[in-house]
């Protein structure tokens, strides 16, 4: 009989709440030997930056704020991501769980396989590309980031439904303004989406369903839909208030 893990479907939330809920689940996961898989999305649209990134090096803060786009620093490393038309997932599990490798790259590969199998169900072939990407036809379709804290692994990542590189770069800064156009074209060449791969747009819910099945297969677990606990909700609100909703955190680099 397959092991049972929790499935959380939390839909649209703002950036600070999304990051706070991932952290709340991580913090409350102490000692449990089951994992949680969560799917979510971002409203309003948002940019998340990696833990080590300089917020003013990466984003045009004024433009984001004028366009109503949230900006939040993640607890995980990695690069800046524009969260628009995508499905985001997170996995939280005990670091010592037998399915989780000590080796970080191996665990990326293992966990990312859920997306690969989910995309396969949609008719898209893809593969894990170290360090933390999933590519389809040589182009990036998903980015992922992992942290290990308090004995737990948190990995979250994005699966692009459609992609709009131009808008994305309207809000992100580039290292050299002189080659901005060239850079955008280069990124357009390197990034794809589910819509692009299938030459048609498919419903968000269909993608979510495929990903639930994909992760369930990749992890070898049954995903059981649950609600977030009142303890998680309370902690999420506290973390949102004290961390992801504050300039102290978001502007710390």
């Amino acid at each position: 009989m397959a092991e049972k893990w929790r499935l959380l479907l939390t839909g649209d939330m703002d950036a600070a709440s999304n990051m706070a809920l991932d952290e709340a689940v991580l913090r409350l996961n102490k000692g449990k030997d089951i994992g949680t898989v969560r799917f979510y999305s971002w409203k309003p649209k948002a940019i998340s930056i990696g833990y080590f990134q300089g917020i003013r090096e990466e984003t045009d803060i004024e433009k984001c704020s004028a366009s109503g786009v949230d900006v939040v620093r993640r607890i995980t490393g990695g690069g800046a991501v524009y969260h628009d038309d995508e499905l985001t997932y997170s996995i939280i599990v005990d670091e010592k769980h037998p399915k989780i490798s000590d080796n970080i790259l191996d665990s990326y590969d293992f966990l990312c396989n859920g997306i690969v199998l989910g995309l396969k169900r949609l008719g898209i072939s893809s593969e894990f590309k170290p360090i933390n990407d999933i590519i389809s036809g040589g182009k990036k379709i998903s980015g992922n980031a992992q942290t290990r804290r308090l004995g737990n692994v948190l990995q979250h990542g994005t699966i692009l439904r459609t992609v709009d590189v131009r808008t994305m770069f309207d809000l992100l800064l580039v290292p050299d303004e002189k080659i901005r156009d060239k850079m955008i074209s280069a990124v357009e060449e390197r990034v794809t989406s589910i819509a692009q791969e299938l030459s048609q747009e498919i419903e968000h819910d269909m993608i979510q369903k495929a990903m639930i099945e994909g992760f369930s297969e990749a992890l070898g677990v049954e995903l059981v839909l649950q609600k977030i606990t009142s303890e998680e909700k309370e902690l999420m609100e506290k973390i949102r208030r004290e961390k992801y909703g504050t300039d102290t955190w978001n502007f710390k680099r």
Binding site: F52, G54, G79, I104, T147
Partner: protein
């Protein structure tokens, strides 16, 4: 150049006062600022911005799209580097990584050393 974060108090001290006074004041420290961007081959980006006082690192910030576990080890590394001689950093950094069991993903100690070296080289 001008990547000054919001909280900077650097402008008031660094710009003109300190090192322009003595015509032959050899003993007055030379303050300089530099920054660099270094992409690790097949890996991630490291950005360094720093302030040097002669050959000593006064302030340093290491940013980028890399991964480091545990995450606060980069802040600790920055703190460790402040006040150290630039000539020793290769040793300092590699020992620091080893002694603290830091796992770097997408970058490595030599990459950080390289990025700091470039920032020092182009500091003015």
């Amino acid at each position: 150049m001008e990547q000054t974060p919001g909280t900077s108090k650097d402008n008031s001290t660094g710009s003109s006062g300190d090192n322009s006074t003595g015509s032959s004041g050899d003993n007055s420290p030379r303050i300089s600022k530099g920054s660099s961007i270094y992409k690790i081959p097949e890996g991630k980006m490291i950005k360094v911005s720093l302030t040097m006082k002669d050959n000593t690192i006064e302030e340093i910030r290491i940013t980028g799209d890399f991964f480091a576990h545990p995450e606060d080890s980069i802040e600790k590394m920055e703190n460790m580097l402040m006040g150290t001689q630039f000539s020793n950093i290769a040793n300092d950094i590699n020992h620091f990584i080893e002694d603290n069991g830091i796992q770097l993903v997408g970058i490595n100690g030599d990459g950080i050393v390289h990025a700091i070296g470039s920032a020092v080289k182009n500091s003015i």
